[in-house]
């Protein structure tokens, strides 16, 4: 598992990359009340805003961490946004993508580095 400075996590699963937000991010956001996900099949580029997440406090964007194509989105968190607070690292993943350029993965943090990053 790798982590970005935008508080997203990326995990490889059978050749596709699953993306979600970290526990720290979900705590900082507070209760999540709305999630908007991209359409399956969308081509995305790294650092593009592709999801919107709204908590009781504010709206935030989720960026594509890598170049590629969205192959699956998690409708369960659209139907029940509270799942993002309950299980951000597990059931509440955001989307799965086929990645065309894996090189940015080298720059992303491992768990130890991320823990240090959030202090």
């Amino acid at each position: 598992m790798k982590y970005t400075e935008e508080h997203e996590w990326i995990r490889e699963e059978d050749g596709v990359y699953v993306v979600g937000i970290t526990e720290h991010a979900s705590e900082q956001l507070g209760d999540v009340v709305f999630v908007e996900l991209p359409e399956e099949g969308t081509e995305v580029t790294k650092d593009e805003d592709i999801c919107v997440i709204e908590s009781v406090k504010a709206a935030s964007d989720i960026l594509a961490p890598l170049d590629g194509e969205i192959v699956e989105v998690n409708q369960a968190i659209v139907d029940d946004p509270g799942k993002v607070n309950e299980d951000p690292l597990g059931d509440a993943w955001f989307f799965k993508m086929k990645v065309s350029d894996l090189s940015p993965m080298d720059d992303y943090m491992d768990e130890a580095a991320y823990k240090k990053f959030i202090g």
Partner: protein, 376 residues
């Protein structure tokens, strides 16, 4: 956070694990470990305790000793019936400016030989100067700085407070009394800012922490932060000064006509006579170009303050603006209020709010969004 003022409960908030934020010059709890959503729902189901000590507390003493003289003087500043306010009763009021705009909204109470005034934290300095400038001929304006203000809100607030003072059960909505709670002299009003039954308690600062601990130790009661205070008041259809009403909005545009009693309107016994009366009375007669309305977005996306409203799904200029918007935990969906042209203010009117460049359908809706639960 260093230059912020602290309420007498500051250390207790930190002990309770609150997340503190700057608000109107004070360090205030925005949420406790329970979180905004659960705090909100707890207050609607049971009872919530809020620290609102940042708000102003001001006493107006008539030089003559006669309440009527203070009331008469105060009527120059507000469009409401102060002289008709009975002892141990309070009501909602607003200071108006020359253009009929709202300088602040506040609660005023008749406590027998004086008027007790509670203005908003963010406006209190200007309000005090305003009162001193206009009332000093006949009254003394005393600013209270050694009292905390607590709000205990929710359907079980009465059960909780009655353990300390059984008399509170006899009080009705907008009654106010001087009561002893846990050995401390308090001023208790049956009112609040959540749309629920409940009480606001003014207490000497040196007794505030002990009283708060006593209430929080009760099974019904949880501490509630500013986050849930905002979603509770919005579900209750209540205005937030600075967002939904300000110097540029009049009480009539804001739909606060109910707060302007007949006696102060055209042909009333004490018609007008307050700052900005010409404009306010004219609007009461002939209506306004725009109105504050409730708004329910059709989708799940919240429409927050600042979102522009359009009459059509495409094209055209903005016709209005959202002034407050959030997710309503009780109604389980987004809600908002804002200003729209009067001809588009009928309940059910379909409008579009522009969120992230997309126009999303939103309907004009009746407020409050949750039924008011007052003890009348």
């Amino acid at each position: 956070m260093d230059d912020l003022q602290h309420t007498p409960l500051f250390a207790l908030h930190e002990e309770l694990g609150a997340k503190m934020v700057p608000f109107a010059g004070y360090a205030m709890p925005v949420q406790y470990p329970l979180g905004v959503m659960k705090e909100h729902l707890h207050c609607r189901a049971s009872a919530g305790l809020f620290d609102v000590s940042h708000m102003g507390q001001v006493v107006i003493w008539p030089n003559s000793g006669d309440f009527a003289d203070a009331a008469q003087a105060f009527e120059k500043l507000v469009p409401v019936d102060v002289m008709g306010l009975k002892p141990n009763r309070q009501r909602y009021a607003m200071f108006t400016n020359e253009a009929g705009g709202i300088m602040d909204d506040l609660m005023i109470a008749n406590l027998g030989d004086h008027l007790f005034v509670v203005p908003n934290a963010g406006c209190k300095a200007e309000d005090i100067a305003h009162m001193q400038a206009h009332l000093s001929e006949t009254c003394r304006v005393e600013v209270i700085t050694d009292r905390a203000l607590l709000a205990l809100q929710g359907p079980k607030a009465e059960d909780a407070l009655a353990r300390l003072a059984p008399e509170v059960c006899e009080m009705k909505f907008m009654d106010i009394r001087e009561l002893n709670l846990n050995g401390a002299d308090c001023v208790v009003a049956r009112a609040g800012y959540t749309g629920e039954d409940g009480f606001e308690i003014s207490v000497q600062e040196d007794a505030a922490v002990e009283l708060t601990r006593l209430l929080l130790a009760m099974e019904e009661v949880e501490p509630i932060g500013l986050g849930a205070r905002d979603s509770l008041r919005l579900e209750g259809g209540l205005c937030l000064y600075g967002n939904d009403i300000d110097q540029g909005t009049t009480p009539v545009e804001a739909g606060l006509n109910w707060a302007i009693q007949k006696v102060r309107r055209k042909d009333g016994a004490r018609e007008g006579g307050f700052i900005g009366a010409d404009r306010v009375l004219e609007q009461l007669e002939h209506g306004t170009n725009r109105k504050r309305v409730g708004l329910l977005p059709e989708g799940r996306a919240p429409m927050r303050g600042g979102v522009e409203l359009f009459a059509a799904a495409e094209g055209g200029e903005a016709v209005g603006t959202v002034t407050s918007g959030a997710f309503g935990p009780t109604i389980e969906g987004p809600m908002a209020m804002g200003y729209v042209p009067s001809e588009l203010s009928a309940e059910g009117t379909l409008l579009y709010g522009e969120v992230r460049g997309k126009r999303m359908p939103v309907k004009v809706a009746k407020m409050p969004f949750t039924p008011a639960n007052f003890k009348r």
